[in-house]
C-alpha cells in the first residue's frame, strides 16, 4: 500500500497547480488516468481572464462574470476568482509560460464572450497547452511523484471520513490502495455523456461519479455549457478567440444574425446566448443544409490569423477541409463544459472530510448558470492553487487514517466480482453508450422541454438496467481499455441521469439551461443552486442558497 500526505487525482491544469501549491515538505502525488500532458486542459485555446490592464478593473470582471452566470454564480467566490486573477497570471509568467506579448512587452490580452474589456491572456490559440506544459515542467522540477495511467476506482471512506483511494494501474493490470490524508479531485468534466462534444475521449466524469457514489454532494448538474462554435460533424473546438479576433457568424443568407439576438455584443455575447441563437437560425430554416451556420474570418488579415489563430486554421483545414483565410467554416454548437460538479467552498472543501476538489470537476460556483470564455482556465489555476494550500493545512490537522483490512478485502472482492462475469457482452457497452449519447444530445441539449426530459429519464433508467445486467468477463491484461470503458459507461449513465433529472426539476430558464415550456427566468422560486446526493432510490435533490454580495439579479440582455 502506498501512502501520501496529499493525493491529487487528475494531472491537468487544476491538478498540477494544486501539486505545485503544496509546500515542499508535503508529500504530494498525482494520479492520472492518462499522462498529465495528455490532459484535456491542453485543448483549451482562448485564454485566461485577468483584469491586468489599468483601464480594466477586477470590479468589471466580477460584474461580467456574475451577469454571465445569469446571477447564479456565488458572488463571494467570483470575487476570489477575479481578484486573484492578476497575481496568478503573473505567477504563471514567472514560471515561464510563453505568453503572446503586446508591443509594450506585457502579456497580450484578447476579447472573449460576455466581457466588457479584452482581458483574456493568451498564447496564440494554444493557451491551455502552453500553461499545461509549463506546469508539467515545474512538476518535474519539484519532483512531484506521478502515477500515470492509473484510474481512480473508488474513494475509500471509513466512518464518514476519506481514508484513501482504490486505484487501478492500467499498465500492470493491478488494483492498488493508496492511503492518504487529503485527496484533491481534479478530474475535469463529463463531456462524453453527449454524442456531440468538444471533449476528449478521456472526459468521462470519473471523479464526479465516484465522489457522488461515495455520498459527496454535487451541485448545479443541469447546467451544461454548449460551445457555439465547434466544427460541424467532428465537433472539434473552434476557439471563441476566433470571434474575439473579429470573426462573424453568418446564416445561409450571409447575414450576421447575432444582430437579432444580442445587438450590443453580437458574436461576443455569452455562449448560452450564442448557442441558442445558432440553433434558432437553423430551426427557422436559415442554416446550411438545415445543419450548420458559418464562422467567417475571411475579412481578417492573413497575418493576424497566422499569428493569433494558427491552430484554429490547422484544425479547420484538416478536419473540415477548409482554409478559413479564404472560406467560412461550418459550425454547430456542441457540449463543451460542465458548470455543475462536486460542490465546494472557495478553498475546495467538499461535503466529505478529507476530500477537496478544484477545476471543472468542482462547482464553487463561479460560473453559475453559464460560464464566460476565459474563466474556466482561470478557475483551474486560482482554485487549483487554493486547494493545494488548503490541502497543506489539512495535512497538519489530520492524523494518518486507518484503512481496515476488511475494507480492502471488500473493495478487492467487488472488483473481482466486476471483472469475472459470465457473459462476453462487452459489445453491448458500446451500443448502450451510443444510445445514451444520442439521447442526451437530442433531449438534454440547448433547448429542453418537460416531455422530452421525462422520456430521457425513463430511457436512461432502462439503459442503466441493461448496463447492470451486462456482467462481462474481463481478462487480466495490460492496458485493458475494455474494462475501463465499461466502468466509464457506468459513470456516464449515472451522471446523465442526474443531469436530466436536474433539468426536469428546474422549471425555469437560466443561463445555459433553457426550457421551452418555462422560458422565463424565475428569481422567486429558482434563485438557488441544485444540490444532489445519492439516495437509496436515486438522486436526492435539494436547494442551496446563492451568495449575493454585490449585484442583485437584473434583466440579462446583451
Amino acid at each position: 500500500m502506498q501512502n501520501h500526505d496529499v493525493l491529487i487525482v487528475g494531472g491537468g491544469l487544476a491538478g498540477l497547480m494544486a501539486a505545485l501549491s503544496c509546500s515542499e515538505r508535503t508529500d504530494v502525488a498525482v494520479l492520472s488516468k492518462i499522462y498529465p500532458t495528455r490532459s484535456h486542459s491542453g485543448a483549451a485555446q482562448g485564454g485566461f481572464n485577468s483584469a491586468l490592464s489599468e483601464d480594466d478593473s477586477v470590479e468589471s470582471h466580477i460584474f461580467d462574470t456574475v451577469k454571465g452566470s445569469d446571477y447564479l454564480g456565488d458572488q463571494d467566490a467570483v470575487e476570489v476568482l477575479c481578484s486573484e486573477g492578476p497575481g496568478t497570471i503573473l505567477e504563471l509568467e514567472r514560471m515561464g509560460v510563453p505568453w503572446s506579448r503586446n508591443s509594450d512587452g506585457r502579456v497580450a490580452q484578447r476579447s472573449l464572450g460576455g466581457a466588457g474589456f479584452p482581458r483574456a491572456c493568451f498564447a496564440a490559440d494554444l493557451s491551455g497547452h502552453v500553461v499545461l506544459h509549463t506546469l508539467f515542467e515545474q512538476a518535474l522540477r519539484r519532483g512531484v511523484k506521478i502515477y500515470p495511467e492509473w484510474h481512480l476506482i473508488q474513494l475509500l471512506v471509513e466512518e464518514g471520513e476519506l481514508v484513501g483511494v482504490l486505484a487501478y494501474d492500467l499498465r500492470h493490470a493491478q488494483l492498488e490502495v493508496i492511503r492518504t490524508k487529503v485527496v484533491i479531485l481534479a478530474t475535469g468534466g463529463y463531456g462524453r455523456v453527449y454524442a456531440k462534444t468538444t471533449n476528449a475521449h478521456a472526459n468521462t466524469g470519473d471523479g464526479m461519479a465516484i465522489a457522488y457514489r461515495a455520498g459527496v454532494v454535487l451541485s448545479d448538474m443541469e447546467f451544461v455549457q454548449f460551445h457555439p462554435t465547434t466544427l460541424y460533424g467532428t465537433n472539434i473546438l473552434i476557439s471563441e478567440a476566433a470571434r474575439g479576433e473579429g470573426g462573424y457568424l453568418r446564416n445561409v443568407n450571409g447575414e450576421r444574425f447575432m444582430g437579432d439576438y444580442a445587438p450590443q455584443k453580437m458574436e461576443l455575447a455569452p455562449r448560452d446566448v450564442v448557442s441558442r441563437s445558432i440553433f434558432r437560425e437553423i430551426k427557422e430554416g436559415r442554416g446550411f443544409n438545415g445543419q450548420y451556420v458559418h464562422l467567417d474570418l475571411t475579412h481578417l488579415e492573413k497575418e493576424l490569423i497566422e499569428e493569433r489563430l494558427p491552430q484554429v486554421r490547422d484544425l479547420a483545414l484538416c478536419y473540415a477541409g477548409v482554409d478559413l483565410v479564404t472560406t467560412p467554416i461550418p459550425i454547430e454548437p456542441a457540449q463543451h463544459y460542465s458548470m455543475g460538479g462536486v460542490r465546494v467552498d472557495t478553498w475546495g472543501v467538499t461535503s466529505l472530510p478529507g476530500l477537496l476538489a478544484a477545476g471543472e470537476v468542482a462547482n464553487v460556483s463561479v460560473h453559475g448558470a453559464n460560464r464566460l470564455g476565459g474563466n474556466s482556465l482561470l478557475e483551474t489555476v486560482v482554485f487549483g492553487h487554493r486547494a493545494g494550500k488548503k490541502a497543506d493545512a489539512l495535512v497538519q490537522e489530520r492524523g494518518w487514517p486507518a484503512i481496515s483490512a476488511t475494507m480492502i478485502a471488500r473493495a478487492k472482492a467487488e472488483w473481482q466480482n466486476l471483472c469475472s462475469g459470465d457473459s462476453a457482452a462487452e459489445g453491448s457497452v458500446y451500443s448502450i453508450r451510443r444510445e445514451m449519447n444520442e439521447l442526451m444530445t437530442a433531449f438534454v441539449g440547448v433547448f429542453r422541454v418537460g416531455e422530452e426530459l421525462t422520456q430521457a429519464v425513463d430511457r436512461l433508467k432502462e439503459l442503466q438496467e441493461l448496463y447492470t445486467r451486462l456482467k462481462p468477463s474481463f481478462r487480466v491484461q495490460a492496458y485493458n481499455y475494455a474494462v475501463m470503458e465499461y466502468l466509464e459507461t457506468g459513470y456516464l449513465l449515472e451522471l446523465g441521469e442526474i443531469i436530466t433529472k436536474g433539468a426536469l426539476r428546474r422549471t425555469e430558464s437560466r443561463g445555459a439551461h433553457f426550457r421551452l415550456d418555462y422560458p422565463q427566468r424565475d428569481d422567486v422560486d429558482w434563485l438557488c443552486h441544485t444540490f444532489v446526493s445519492k439516495g437509496k432510490d436515486g438522486p436526492q435533490f435539494s436547494a442551496g442558497p446563492v451568495s449575493i454580495t454585490r449585484y442583485p439579479p437584473k434583466e440579462r440582455g446583451y
Partner: protein
Amino acid sequence: MKVVLNICRFDPEVDKESYFQKFDVEVEGHQTVLDALLCAREQDSSLSFRRSCRSAICGSCAIWLDFRPVLACHTLIKDVAIAPGSITVEPLPHFRQLKDLVVDLEPLFESLKAIVPWVVTRRDHNGLMAPEKARVMESASTCILCGICDAVMETGGVVKPAAAVKGIRLAVDPRDAVGEARRRLLDLPPELLALFIKRLPPICPKSIRLPDIS
C-alpha cells in the same frame, strides 16, 4: 468506404512475439485513422491503443502507419487508403512495445531531465518580454510530446530529439537564468544541430521550426 486494418497485436502475457490481426471497418474518407481504430476496438475490445483529444493536441495516438510515423487522429483515411483500402498499423518504433499499439513512454519523459526542462527564472526578470523575443519560442512551444521524433530520429548526440526541442525552447527564453549553458546542455556540435533543425519539420506532426541557436 471499406478499409482493412492490419493491426499489430502483442500481449506479453500470452504472446511470444507480435502478430497482425485483420479488421474490416467501414469509415468515411474524411474520417481519421483513429476513427478506424475505434471501429476496430468495437469489434475486439481487447485491442489497446492510446487516444484522447482526437484533435492533434494531446499527443496520445502516435503510431507507425504503413511506412511512416503519424498521429492517428490527424491522419485522414482518404489520404492513406483508396477504396477498397488496406493500411498497416504498428506501434512507434524504438520504444518498447507494451501491449498492441501501446509503447513504454518512460524513456521519453526521462530523457527530458538531461536538459533541465523548466525555466529557471532570473531574479531580475520584470515580467515583460519583447514580442519578437516571445515569437522565437512559439513554434518549439507547440510540442505535444507525442514521441514521433524520438522514434525516428537521432540528434547525433546523447540528447534525444524531444529533449532537444524543449532544450532549444528554453535556450531562447530571455527569462531563463541558465543562459549560455543551455547550449552546452544540448551537447551537439553546430553542424549536427543545424541538421536536426532542418530534418525535424517534415517528421513532426506540429511541423516545429526551431530557431538556430548554434
